[in-house]
């Protein structure tokens, strides 16, 4: 039997629907994150599971029993919750605050060393004799976690436990949760940081406007298309230093300002690629060698690129492809890429595009790193610009990039 099961659950505050048609189950031992935009109903969902709120439609079962059948004390023995905000205006000792968690266990609660033991479990045994009000935000969060763990409930719900924590406390918290999970604790945790979700959670539930947008293994759920649909931003998956992580661009796909083609390589174009994508331009690049830094960046950003095999000079096929990309662009930019015999045909292509009337800009640095002398001709046909990002932006903004586009 599932530890918790939600069947077609709906909930509304007054007349305003907050959750609709939520159905999922959680087996004992699961380690699941809940993500979703602000106001998507995440906190309401965990309040429903804890029986604080009653579903307006459907049913919420804990151990097979509907939550409204539970007395509060029995519920607290099954489900513990770490709230997002914890207010305490009274000057209580940390020990007292932690021991309140044992309330639901009544007389069976263990000996008086409990609070101390729990805090040392969390690596903060030294807090036990401090006053709660003296603690920092991170310490308070750990004390509230200790309080919830004192319930010894098989299910732990957490509402954005990491939001007030610095990086080191965040990692410590999630490592700790994983450790507790290894000992059998079932964890359901709301969080905002998708990279933390990606790194720590086996399974994710994505809420969007009160409905389940996705529920499944983290890698399946945190795909750029789902993130774009739910959050309305563009998302990119990167693999770096042995990790997968996400970055975002504020503009959703399909809202392009114009198309820019980059002649770059060796990392000279990566920054510009990202900047142009974030600013809302459609970006293409070429010719780049596969596994080149700029090629990898372009691939992660999903750019159209003309690509040549690693460490090979630009061949005819790639050259033609590159030229086609340039023709489709509103402007061609040549970065301060070192020019050698391997990539000189890219400059030739740029000059050809310029000759055909395409605006072509070259970074001033490209002349300094030209080992072939071919760029000597650029000055005559293109416009020479410095590659300073600000100047570039204002220059781009002045161009009629949308011309001839629907």
């Amino acid at each position: 039997m599932a530890l918790i099961a939600l069947r077609d659950v709906g909930f509304a505050y007054d007349e305003r629907p907050v959750l609709k048609r939520i159905s999922f189950e959680l087996e004992a031992g699961a380690f699941v994150g809940i993500v979703g935009p602000n106001g998507s109903g995440k906190s309401t969902l965990i309040d429903l599971i804890d029986g604080i709120l009653r579903p307006g439609a459907g049913e919420v079962l804990v151990n097979g029993v509907a939550t409204d059948k539970y007395r509060r004390r029995a519920m607290a023995r099954q489900v513990a919750l770490v709230p997002q905000h914890f207010d305490l205006d009274f000057d209580l000792a940390v020990r007292e605050v932690v021991e309140m968690g044992a309330y639901c266990r009544g007389k069976e609660a263990g000996p008086s060393g409990d609070a101390e033991e729990m805090l040392s479990r969390l690596g903060v045994a030294g807090l036990v004799d401090r006053r709660f009000l003296e603690l920092s935000g991170g310490e308070r969060q750990l004390v509230v976690l200790a309080q919830a763990l004192m319930q010894r409930a098989p299910l732990l719900l957490l509402d954005e436990p990491a939001s007030a924590l610095d990086v080191s406390h965040q990692l410590r918290l999630f490592d700790l949760l994983r450790e507790l999970n290894g000992e059998g604790l079932t964890v359901l945790c709301i969080l905002h940081d998708l990279n933390l979700a990606l790194h720590y959670f086996d399974k994710l539930l994505v809420l969007s406007e009160g409905e389940m947008a996705a529920f499944g293994p983290t890698d399946d759920v945190l795909r750029p298309e789902i993130i774009e649909a739910v959050y309305g931003v563009r998302a990119f998956l990167h693999r770096h230093a042995g990790r997968t992580y996400l970055t975002y661009s504020p503009r959703p796909r399909g809202d392009r300002l114009g198309r820019v083609h980059l002649v770059c390589g060796g990392g000279t174009g990566s920054g510009l690629m990202r900047e142009l994508v974030d600013a809302g331009y459609d970006v293409s690049a070429g010719v780049l060698n596969a596994l080149d830094t700029d090629e990898e960046t372009g691939r992660e950003l999903g750019l159209s690129m003309a690509v040549e095999a690693p460490f090979s000079p630009v061949g005819d096929e790639a050259y033609a492809e590159n030229l086609a990309l340039m023709r489709g662009a509103d402007v061609v930019i040549v970065t301060a890429v070192p020019v050698s015999h391997g990539n000189e045909r890219n400059i030739v292509a740029a000059m050809e595009a310029a000759a055909a009337g395409k605006p072509v800009w070259a970074a001033a640095g490209v002349l300094d790193a030209d080992f072939t002398g071919i760029t000597a001709g650029v000055g005559g046909v293109g416009v020479l610009l410095s590659a300073a990002a600000d100047a570039l932006h204002s220059a781009l903004a002045a161009l009629p990039l949308r011309s001839g586009r629907p």
């Binding site: 804890d50 604080i52 007395r71 509060r72 004390r73 029995a74 519920m75 607290a76 023995r77 513990a80 919750l81 709230p83 914890f86 207010d87 305490l88 205006d89 009274f90 000057d91 209580l92 000792a93 020990r95 007292e96 021991e99 309140m100 968690g101 309330y103 639901c104 000996p111 008086s112 309080q147 319930q151």
Partner: protein, 332 residues
């Protein structure tokens, strides 16, 4: 609640009990006719005896008066702790629920009517207090829950309404104005054994919150957190609110409206023993009793043989003390 703190609870309670006992002895011994400790002991051992002036003063006047003061002070302090912690508002006192104003209205009607076959002032004050509690309760009940803020607002509103009616009665019954004002200021003057009997009813109600110290501690974190930790919040809240209301109504009906004890005592005690209720409740009870007994002693000693209403004494002592505590910063 806190098992380790459990050992730390008793010294505070015993100390408070000692202070209270000392105040009690002082209040019984001192007065317009002061008694030595030895004489006091004789009188206690002898019990009420006819024909002895000291004995009559002690058993018929001083003893019931001091007992009523003890019980009223304790009841107001306990009600103050309950209400401050349920409202999570340090400026709450037992009178915000409107119960005292309802009682004042009842008492005023009793005074104006001049009925004498029953202690009508006390009875009507009790009826007024409990009636107000019922009204406020009904106003605050929504979908089976008690909304603590509506309760507060309803209490304040009814308090104003009752005061307005009291004012009208005072003006129309001119010859009783003095008695009404005197009652409103609060006094233990002339309280006898009949009043003690009414005040004794507070004892079981003062005991009620002692069974809910763990729940009250947890409720300091707010109602939602208390639910999450397994407290039956609605049930606990109702029980405690009714308890505080009944304590206030009983206290006011025998003593009039004595300010500042229910407000200041919980604050002082929190500074001394912390906000944990295992210590806070019993110590507040004892300190409330001690403070009221001393205030009553001052009220009859300062301009003897005349008396200052005890409500004036507690206000004179309580107001500066409270301002001092506020300036010290809200540690509790």
């Amino acid at each position: 609640m806190t098992r380790l703190a459990r050992t730390g609870v008793w010294p505070g309670i015993l100390l408070a009990a000692g202070v209270f006992a000392l105040c009690l002895v002082l209040a019984l011994a001192l007065g317009p006719a002061s008694l030595s400790l030895g004489r006091l002991w004789q009188l206690v051992v002898a019990g009420p005896v006819q024909g002895d002036l000291d004995n009559a003063i002690f058993w018929q006047i001083r003893m019931p008066r001091v007992l009523v003061a003890c019980l009223v002070g304790a009841a107001l302090a306990v009600a103050g702790v309950i209400l401050q912690d349920l409202f999570l508002n340090p400026l709450t006192d037992p009178y915000v629920t409107g119960v005292s104003s309802g009682a004042a209205l009842g008492a005023t009607i009793g005074i104006v009517l001049h009925w004498s076959n029953l202690p009508w002032v006390t009875v009507l004050a009790l009826v007024g207090g409990l009636g107000t509690l019922t009204l406020v309760w009904m106003a605050a009940r929504r979908r089976g829950r008690i909304d603590i803020f509506v309760l507060l607002l309803a209490g304040v509103t009814i308090a104003y309404l009752a005061s307005a009616v009291v004012t009208v009665l005072m003006i129309s019954a001119n010859q009783d104005m003095h008695a009404i004002i005197y009652w409103l200021m609060g006094s233990f003057s002339g309280r006898g054994w009949a009043d003690v009997e009414i005040a004794l009813v507070t004892l079981p109600f003062m005991a009620v919150p002692l069974f809910f110290t763990a729940e009250m501690d947890i409720l300091l974190q707010g109602e939602k957190r208390a639910l999450e930790l397994g407290v039956e919040v609605e049930r606990t809240k109702r029980l405690l609110l009714v308890t505080a209301g009944v304590l206030t109504a009983l206290a006011v009906s025998v003593s009039g409206i004595i300010g500042f004890v229910g407000l200041v005592v919980p604050h002082i005690v929190r500074l001394l023993v912390g906000p944990g209720h295992r210590a806070l409740l019993p110590v507040s009870l004892l300190v409330g009793a001690a403070m009221m007994v001393v205030a009553d002693l001052l009220s009859r000693m300062v301009i003897s043989p005349n008396e200052i209403p005890v409500g004036v004494v507690t206000t004179f002592v309580g107001a500066p003390l409270f301002v001092y505590l506020l300036r010290r910063g809200r540690r509790a």
